[in-house]
Structures are given as structure tokens and as C-alpha cells.
């Protein structure tokens, strides 16, 4: 476990005043704050180091201990014990190295793998003992979820993975392309016990070759044979909710539009409310006419002259 030079982390020297420390911390916190560096693990790590340095150097007791033992921090407690012994014996005599002759490899302070370095935990114990470190909210995650228009039509559940975490969400029918939803607390974990960030999911709804969506209305072009357009009849139209029968009036003009009220897209978060479906009728002329058909069409044409 390496010694951490907290002064160096904050770009200061040992004589730094409380004000210098505060200023240096603020400056570096602004630079490396996870909010300012989305999805940047290196910045997050650096931010934790800065926080740790600030925790130690702004606490007079911790700073005193840190300054006193410095790189010999590992033997600090033993040194204190030795000092006490020496004082009681009133021996006053010290060797060049006060830690000489002590073997404290067995020392294993009170720490676990928390947000602060092992060095901090060993020197000061777990910081879950009333540190006055500022808590920071975790980073927000942003994710894009692709949906087909058919998927966006009905309420359904989807499971996906964000940063190794499986998340299952219910997508309400009628979500819009580009719409963002927020899942509170599903972002990165907070720093120093702060709340977790949020997960934002943006929906990317693919265009459908058959149907166009305009708000809650749907627009579809339907081919109809010449005879139905001329004489009227019924046609089956494929919709997201299944096939529906549509009546075509006699002598319907090419490009005519039929409006089917309430057969469009569901209105977001409004149960049983739908937009309208507009069907543009496009005549499909017959091809590969037989001689007889040509003759009949000719007869019709002559009647119209």
C-alpha cells in the first residue's frame, strides 16, 4: 500500500493555510467532479483522491497526525507507544530513526474497501465515523433505447444492461421519438455516501415503411384495385391492432383519404385514448390485360367520348 501525498494531490506544500486548501480543493473539484466528466472513470478516481486529501487536510486532528507521521504513517501508533515508554522512563535519548527495531507488519487497521484509499483507512480508520466530507450525487447515465413503431404502440417491458446492471422497465404505450424518461437512483453510485445518480433513457423510434406517425395520428397508404375504387366495396387494412374492414364508396377518387377515428396511436399515459388513422387510397391499375379486357376497356372509353 503506497503512501499518499495529500499535499501533492491538491497541488500544495506543507505550509498551506486552511484557505489555500479550501481554494485548491474547490478548484480541483470543479475540474474533476463526476457531473462535469460524464462516464469518465479516471476523473471519478481523481475526484475521490481530491476528496480524500480534503478530508484529511481540512480536519486539524487528521492533518496533525498526517503531518507528524508522514511517510512513516505505518509505524505511527508504535511510535506513539515508544514515545510514551521513553517519557515514562525519562530516558530522553533517541536513535536516528525512531521506528528502528519495531516490527509492525501485523498491523492491519480498521478498514474495508470503501471509497477512500487503503492508506486513508489504515491511517484514520474507516471514515464512516462521522467524517464531515461533502456528499456528492452519483453520475447520471444516459442510454438510448431503440424501438420499432409497433413496439411503441403497446405497453411492454424491456430488459437491458447499463454498466453491467440489468434493468427491467415498463415502456408505456405511446412514447414519442426522442422522449426521455428518468429512472431515479439507477445511475452511478454516489460519492461519500451521496445519493446515486439517475438513469435517463431516450427512445429512438424507428420509422415504419408502412405507417407514418404524426403525433398520435397514423397515416397509411393503401393500394385498392380499380374496380373497388369505381364500384365501391370493402378492403382489409392491416393496423398495429390487427386487420380492420374499411368501406370504400363507389367512384372513389385516387388519393382520397379515409379517417378512422380512434384507430391511430395510443395517447401516452392516457388509457383507451387513441389518435386517428388516416388511409390514403391509391388505385392499383390492372396490368397484363387480355385481348377481351382491352376490348371492354375500349368500349368503356368510347362510351365516355
Amino acid at each position: 500500500m503506497a503512501f499518499v501525498d495529500y499535499y501533492k494531490v491538491l497541488g500544495l506544500d506543507k505550509g498551506a493555510s486552511a484557505d489555500d486548501i479550501k481554494k485548491a480543493y474547490r478548484k480541483l473539484a470543479r475540474k474533476y467532479h463526476p457531473d462535469m466528466n460524464p462516464n469518465d472513470e479516471a476523473a471519478k478516481q481523481k475526484f475521490q483522491e481530491i476528496n480524500e486529501a480534503n478530508e484529511v487536510l481540512t480536519d486539524s486532528e487528521k492533518r496533525k497526525k498526517y503531518d507528524q507521521y508522514g511517510e512513516n504513517w505505518k509505524h505511527g501508533e508504535a511510535y506513539e507507544q515508544a514515545s510514551r515508554q521513553q517519557r515514562s522512563q525519562q530516558s530522553g535519548q533517541t536513535t536516528g530513526n525512531p521506528f528502528e527495531g519495531f516490527d509492525f507488519d501485523g498491523y492491519n487497521g480498521n478498514y474495508d474497501a470503501g471509497e477512500f484509499s487503503d492508506f486513508f483507512e489504515q491511517m484514520f480508520g474507516s471514515r464512516s465515523g462521522g467524517g464531515r466530507q461533502a456528499k456528492f450525487r452519483g453520475n447520471d447515465y444516459n442510454s438510448v433505447l431503440e424501438l420499432t413503431l409497433q413496439q411503441a404502440y403497446s405497453t411492454h417491458q424491456q430488459t437491458f444492461t447499463v454498466n453491467g446492471k440489468n434493468i427491467r422497465i415498463t415502456i408505456p404505450a405511446g412514447v414519442e421519438n426522442g422522449q426521455k424518461i428518468r429512472l431515479k437512483g439507477q445511475g452511478a453510485e454516489g460519492i461519500n455516501g451521496g445519493p446515486a445518480g439517475d438513469l435517463f433513457i431516450q427512445f429512438d423510434i424507428k420509422t415504419d415503411p408502412q405507417v407514418q406517425r404524426q403525433g398520435n395520428d397514423l397515416h397509411k397508404t393503401q393500394e385498392v384495385d380499380l374496380y373497388t375504387m369505381l364500384l365501391g366495396g370493402e378492403l382489409l387494412v392491416e393496423t398495429f391492432a390487427g386487420k380492420i374492414k374499411v368501406k370504400v364508396k363507389p367512384e372513389t377518387q385516387n388519393g382520397s383519404r379515409i379517417r378512422l377515428k380512434g384507430r391511430g396511436f395510443p395517447v401516452y399515459k392516457k388509457e383507451k385514448e387513441f389518435g386517428d388513422l388516416f388511409i390514403s387510397l391509391q388505385v392499383k391499375l390492372p396490368t397484363d390485360l387480355s385481348t377481351e379486357e382491352i376490348a371492354l376497356f375500349q368500349q368503356l372509353a368510347n362510351k365516355r367520348k
Binding site: R26, D35, M36, P38, F136, R137, D140, V144, K184, K269
Partner: protein, 88 residues
């Protein structure tokens, strides 16, 4: 779409935020407030923004102008990251 509005007074008191700061954010267009019967409200969907800006202001000592710049640049990063993801 249904929206939930929360009284600014309640938010400020629970988060220990100065009401003037919230008004300044609103005046800069960083958040949206509505006023009903002389009371100000914030959309619940925007609460996370207010929390984030308050964090930047009180912990990082960013003023309103700094928050505006940071927000602008972060939005830009987010957009570029999305473009980059699409190109991958």
C-alpha cells in the same frame, strides 16, 4: 401528459436551498417555474436538474453563469457522445 408540480418553498426548505438561487436559475432559463396564485412551482421532472445545479452552486461554488456554461458544454458532450455511439 400528466405533470406533477412541487412548491418551490417546500423544495428549498427540504434541500436547504435559497429561494433566490432557484429564481435566478429560472431567470436564466436553466429550469422552468410556474406561478399559480402567487406561489411558485417546479415540475417534478425538473427536480433532478435543480438538485444538480444546487450541488454545483453550493459544493463547487459555481455561480449562475458558470452553471450555464457547464450545462451547455455537458449537453454538447452528451450529443457528441450519442453521435459517436451511432457511428461506432
Amino acid at each position: 401528459m400528466e405533470r406533477t408540480w412541487i412548491k418551490i418553498y417546500d423544495v428549498c426548505s427540504s434541500h436547504q436551498i435559497e429561494i433566490q438561487f432557484v429564481r435566478e436559475l429560472s431567470a436564466s432559463g436553466l429550469i422552468e417555474l410556474i406561478t399559480e396564485e402567487e406561489m411558485e412551482f417546479i415540475d417534478e421532472e425538473q427536480l433532478y436538474l435543480l438538485e444538480q445545479f444546487a450541488n454545483w452552486h453550493y459544493e463547487l461554488e459555481l455561480n449562475i453563469q458558470g452553471i450555464e456554461v457547464a450545462r451547455h458544454l455537458l449537453t454538447k458532450i452528451e450529443r457528441l457522445q450519442r453521435e459517436l455511439d451511432l457511428l461506432k
